[in-house]
Symmetry: D2
Subunit: 150 residues, 4 copies
């Protein structure tokens, strides 16, 4: 587990870059709405891999656990176009026994494109039932959220 | 414009069916989350075509107007699997000068899979600015929402 | 196993309908190219379910076998637009020990939009190695291809 | 126009990197087949932007021309999994009056995952008819293909 300071950093500055592809856009020549949820989940998954040490693919195929979404809210502020590069800022906002709540802010340069809030629940894959966050997740999550409130 | 009774009907019973495809599912063997927003928009677009008489494609390519989303909220209640058929119940809940607010409930038989609330704004495509609902939209929307409150 | 005549029928007339969605189209206001491969696989999977009795989802999640593609060729003849309905005509052209070769012709009314040829290999999921077609597949495939050559 | 040597370089070594996302994979826990065509087009579009100076989005929304595919062939050699990074090697193989023929080889480290051949035709967007390659395209294409044969 990386030292405490890294988590403070991770929490504050985690940014995932995503170039908007031709095929992500619709006949209005802007990003097709559901792609924004794709991008948010891609950014959260990158955060999981980097901060918690395992991404969804590894969780599901190696560890027998999963991380489906139970909730998502999206607010769209400004359109995004092909070729532009989104900076997706990921913040862990809250954790319960089994869930992680994320805020993702998508920016292109200084322009806020959209915000997404996603709630992931950690489950036992076989029973499809929520379980407590695994101890390594819990320690890191507490370090981050402690850092946040301090 | 179809007679008033049809709108009451449309409002109450509009259901769009969508079979869940192999390619809609992820390695957890359930629907990949953003597909649920795809399905909701597909159902709303079917509603637009049938109830308002023009879908997004026609609006954008023929009429010079567009209908981007400004907001979406999704709550997931039960997982959905490949081969299952979603009944997507679309309800127009509210209209303002330029926006339409929809509720989409996705069910498989009696099981509630998810709910989505989406807010669409009608815009002038060239200026990318909101405009009042076109008169034909307004008349039908008022008929539906009048029917709703009566 | 349905009677022989049904397979002749299935082979000759299997058509899967697919409405082109707003989100399937790109800023050129035509179908985004990879969607045509999506549609072809959706049609082949429908054929698998109906003619062989199991679709890919069931094969993978229940039977421990899979059906990945080893080859695909696509030729595009005419553009397709939002709201149009594709008739996807699926023909089994050939079978080897482990593979099935399909032709999919996508038409909108009388207009030929594209053709796809896809080769699926049946594998043991765990070892990711090809296996002989299961006996039920083999019987039906032979009935179809026998019908074809007769 | 960059100096000649750059094109030789571009032709020989153009590589686009693409991380395989959770949502790109299907319930077999490998990349869903049509995503490979997505990746190939994404890589070709990156090549267009870098080597020809305009990507499809700019061609379509600014220049009144388009670059739809008329043909695609895909051969799959080895499965690819979530979290792996594809190196997509793009080679312009041939050009005619209106078309560009590309080879895309997708590798993960030394392992060849798939090859794609795609033929793009340059069209006048409004008439949806092929046109000669624009002069800037032609000069660069000839420089590359000249370099190739030399």
């Amino acid at each position: 587990m990386p030292p405490f300071e890294d988590f403070r950093l991770a929490r504050r500055r985690f940014v995932h870059k995503r170039k908007i592809q031709w095929g992500d856009c619709d006949p209005a020549a802007i990003v097709y709405t559901p792609r924004f949820l794709d991008y948010a989940l891609e950014a959260i998954d990158a955060w999981m891999g980097e901060v918690l040490g395992v991404d969804w693919y590894t969780m599901n195929t190696k560890l027998g656990i999963g991380g489906p979404q139970v909730h998502a809210t999206l607010d769209f502020h400004s359109p995004a176009r092909g070729g532009e590069v989104l900076d997706l800022h990921v913040t862990l906002e809250k954790a319960t026994r089994s869930t992680l709540a994320f805020l993702v802010q998508g920016r292109i340069a200084k322009r806020l494109i959209y915000t997404a809030r996603c709630v992931t629940v950690i489950i036992d894959r076989k029973r499809f039932k929520s379980i407590p966050l695994p101890p390594t997740f819990r320690r890191r999550v507490d370090a981050i959220l402690g850092a946040k409130s301090s």
